[in-house]
């Protein structure tokens, strides 16, 4: 039912609707893309709809990859001069963050772990 997908979509924070959330048939899908595909009524849309209705998505490894992809997209979209800092004096530039996330190290690991929780919350919303 389209309503189920719309309800699921509406529970996802607006700021996240353009971030990849599902990996299916070799493609990362954002909630917005999924909703559009379901609305079109294509076979692919039906398959995605069934996934959402059944809340059956993907394995843990792929979820982690989705989390990393989302983070990298966010970080790469930052202005060049932006990064993350703490009051201990640690500063990570945009480039540092990209590297840390790709290598799953240090603060990059923290970000991935947090992102994984966000992904799960939104998938099972």
């Amino acid at each position: 039912m389209l309503e189920v997908v719309e309800r699921w979509y509406n529970k996802i924070p607006p700021i996240h609707r353009d971030l990849p959330l599902i990996f299916y048939k070799g493609k990362y899908w954002t909630p917005k893309e999924i909703l559009n595909e379901v609305r079109k009524g294509t076979r692919l849309g039906e398959e995605l709809q069934r996934m959402i209705e059944a809340r059956k998505f993907t394995d843990a490894k792929t979820l982690k990859e989705i989390a990393k992809k989302r983070l990298l997209e966010i970080i790469k979209g930052l202005p060049e001069s932006y990064g993350v800092a703490s009051f201990s004096g640690k500063v990570y530039t945009k480039e540092d963050l990209i590297k840390l996330v790709e290598e799953e190290k240090d603060f990059g690991k923290t970000l991935i772990e947090r992102e994984l929780e966000i992904v799960k919350e939104e998938l099972y919303a």
């Binding site: 607006p14 700021i15 353009d18 997209e73 966000i118």
Partner: protein
């Protein structure tokens, strides 16, 4: 209650236009709520000890950040803890925080200190961060090479800069402020912790629903949201060496809106509240008001009515407490928490400190 504020940053905060958790301002709020407050600026360790011993506070609030380049509360707390930990050599400092509630507005000051203070030093409760907290950084480097969160060196004007301002304000101040206000309102430490976490949740919701206009705004806001969630997760209240779950507070913190949020309390509660003559409800109540001047009247059967004029600015939070008496009109207690959503002045001052 007695609140002792030990602040290394007070001087700098005086310059702030929008300081949301300026020691001076939170002190006024606490006083208006009927509490005793003492502030010690830039204390040396012996000053801090003396104040704790003489004033015998219920709550000790460490204000300062842990940047190791400057004299910080981190050194102070290090001194209190480590010097008291070495086999009696500094017995005079032992258990200095015994029976107190300690709160720290700093990542380094706070990180992992809660367990030590509550388990080995008799501190009743400790609210702080289990790990250091993180904020979005705009890296036009300051004089020392360390970054400026934003402010006058920020190359990006307007809305994007505001993101950073808002975020830094939240992380640095709000949860701490609401914890203290919660205590001052008579909540248990667990409830006050819940009160402060609710404020975090409000900000998270705000960012989740943020209507970004550009791609840059979207990515900056998205990263901000993630940092905020990480920081919320590591804010912990500690008792007897163990982390304590927050409890639901009896009153929600005022919502974050573009209106001024005016939280009206009364003693006793249940009083009718009129704004410019129109009944709004009964206390406790949170009013959403546009910027302007209002007359707020508090009436409760059997008590003298009390009236107060207030001027509010948008996107700020105010607390007004009416203390009602049967025979005579009591003074009106009014507190303003200038929780600005866009604390440019705050950030500029922060930059100054960071760049020292």
């Amino acid at each position: 209650m007695k609140f002792l504020i030990l602040s290394t940053q007070y001087g700098a905060w005086c310059e702030l236009e929008y300081g949301s958790c300026v020691a001076r301002e939170i002190a006024e709020i606490l006083k208006e709520l009927g509490h005793h407050v003492r502030i010690v600026m830039k204390p040396k360790p012996e000053d801090a000890n003396k104040a704790i011993n003489e004033f015998a506070p219920d709550v000790v609030w460490f204000v300062g950040h842990g940047n190791t380049f400057i004299t910080t509360l981190e050194r102070l707390t290090h001194w209190i803890v480590d010097k008291t930990h070495c086999g009696g050599r500094e017995d005079k400092n032992l258990n200095i925080l015994k029976g107190k509630i300690a709160n720290a507005l700093s990542c380094l000051t706070a990180a992992c200190l809660g367990k030590i203070l509550t388990k080995y030093y008799g501190c009743n409760y400790y609210l702080g961060y289990e790990k250091e907290f993180w904020f979005l950084w705009c890296g036009c480097a300051g004089p020392d090479g360390f970054g400026c969160a934003c402010g006058r060196w920020n190359p990006l004007p307007g809305a994007v800069r505001d993101f950073v301002n808002r975020f830094a304000v939240i992380c640095m101040h709000e949860s701490n402020l609401y914890f203290l206000v919660g205590l001052a309102l008579g909540f248990t430490p667990e409830q006050a912790h819940g009160y402060s976490l609710k404020r975090f949740d409000q900000w998270i919701k705000y960012w989740e629903n943020f209507k970004f206009k550009t791609g840059v705004e979207r990515y900056v806001a998205a990263l901000t949201l993630r940092l905020l969630k990480i920081d919320r997760d590591i804010q912990r209240l500690c008792k007897n060496g163990e982390y304590v779950k927050p409890e639901e507070p009896p009153t929600d913190p005022p919502e974050i809106t573009e209106y001024a949020a005016v939280q009206v309390l009364s003693e006793p509660s249940g009083a009718n509240i009129y704004v410019n003559g129109e009944l709004q409800g009964t206390t406790p109540i949170t009013l959403k008001l546009k910027a302007g001047e209002y007359t707020i009247r508090c009436e409760l059967s059997g008590y003298k009515p009390v009236e107060r004029k207030i001027r509010v600015k948008e996107a700020r939070t105010y607390i007004i407490k009416f203390v009602l008496k049967e025979e005579e009109i009591s003074p009106v207690k009014m507190m303003a928490i200038p929780l600005t959503l866009v604390g440019l002045g705050c950030i500029m001052a922060m930059l100054k400190r960071l760049s020292r």
